[in-house]
Symmetry: C3
């Protein structure tokens, strides 16, 4: 499928691949899957927003950050195998930097899930976990892992 065209049609531009913050790579190919590293919502190397959801950051703001992190995950996959080779999105793990009283992590990670659904349609139906963590790298509000299946 031409998922590059689909992204463009939806008004999204695939960013350059975020440099890993450490001695690992943004994505690895494992048989007919690609596993991404945890992706932060970096935009040109910096985080648009920092802080905890439920404190400094609202659910709506965090949804947008989850979408950006998912877009970065797609860029990492694209650099590894080419986005158009994706046959199915298998799983999203979403970590939300949460105030201890915040309980709407699913709404935040919907920012990623709905974006994936928009781009991939039926091929975007995935398993998912959403959890609220104490803190994330660089004080990011959200971190996203993506696992996709690629065509043989």
């Amino acid at each position: 499928m031409d998922f590059h065209a689909r992204l463009q049609e939806l008004g999204y531009e695939l960013p350059g691949v975020a440099k890993p913050l450490a001695s690992y790579v943004p994505a690895v190919r494992v048989g007919n899957q690609v596993w991404t590293s945890g992706q932060l919502p970096l935009v040109e190397g910096t985080l648009p927003l920092t802080g905890k959801v439920g404190a400094e950051i609202t659910t709506e703001q965090a949804q947008e950050q989850a979408r950006i992190a998912a877009l970065n995950a797609l860029a990492a996959i694209d650099a590894e195998v080419g986005l158009d080779d994706i046959s199915r999105v298998l799983k999203i793990v979403g970590f939300v930097a949460s105030d201890p009283g915040y309980a709407d992590q699913p709404a935040v990670i919907n920012g990623a899930s709905d974006f994936i659904g928009e781009v991939f349609g039926d091929a975007g139906t995935h398993a998912r976990s959403a959890v609220g963590v104490a803190a994330l790298p660089k004080n990011a509000p959200v971190e996203i892992e993506l696992i996709v299946e690629i065509a043989a």
Copy 2:
């Protein structure tokens, strides 16, 4: 194996599949595996207990919630491929909503692991991670992910 019968024998009833809180599915089949989404200990759509383990919730209470979440994970797998097709339980990831001073996450997730062992016997021996997180969806005390292998 007739794991439905085994559940019944142990006095458990497989619940209806919990509707996902968002745009994803409760479980996906990936080759000869099934990966569940993170499962909350919902009973007929509501959480029997909410709060942090080590604060409002005791270890013993949380163990029972972990067992319920694991039962919900089995229901999600059953709806996808049929419980009796499971040949092996491969992995449990257990997230425990924890008071920062609480350190007995393994005891909590034993509620899930021991239940899986009870139902599946040797086929239930799994890898496992147990971590304490700041907050979970709907203020749940525990969230469980399950990965199983299914017979060819």
Copy 3:
């Protein structure tokens, strides 16, 4: 490859396999992969350091603990399939028990990633997630999961 020799050359000794804290196993073989359970930085059954990174524990101290946890993960894999059968390290998930204001989880998990790179060279290039959690078992500062590929 003779990764046992490489470890020895680097001055590391593979420890005995840490007994699981619960009813699960330290590692499972899944096709041509081995998945470890979450590993704590136990040394002869006890944790050298406990507490939260960014509070009682420094980044440098936590890096060393991450390395120890990764060494324990290798021991678990070695007990399951033999270390020298590893063809590639695929993924590290690193959980860092974090003070809510701590944001340098990647530096901590570099303790594991750099160690894996040192031992496995190019075969050690992996995907990775690093998150800051509220609390870990036994008040450990870090917990590491490892997934490796083994030669056919």
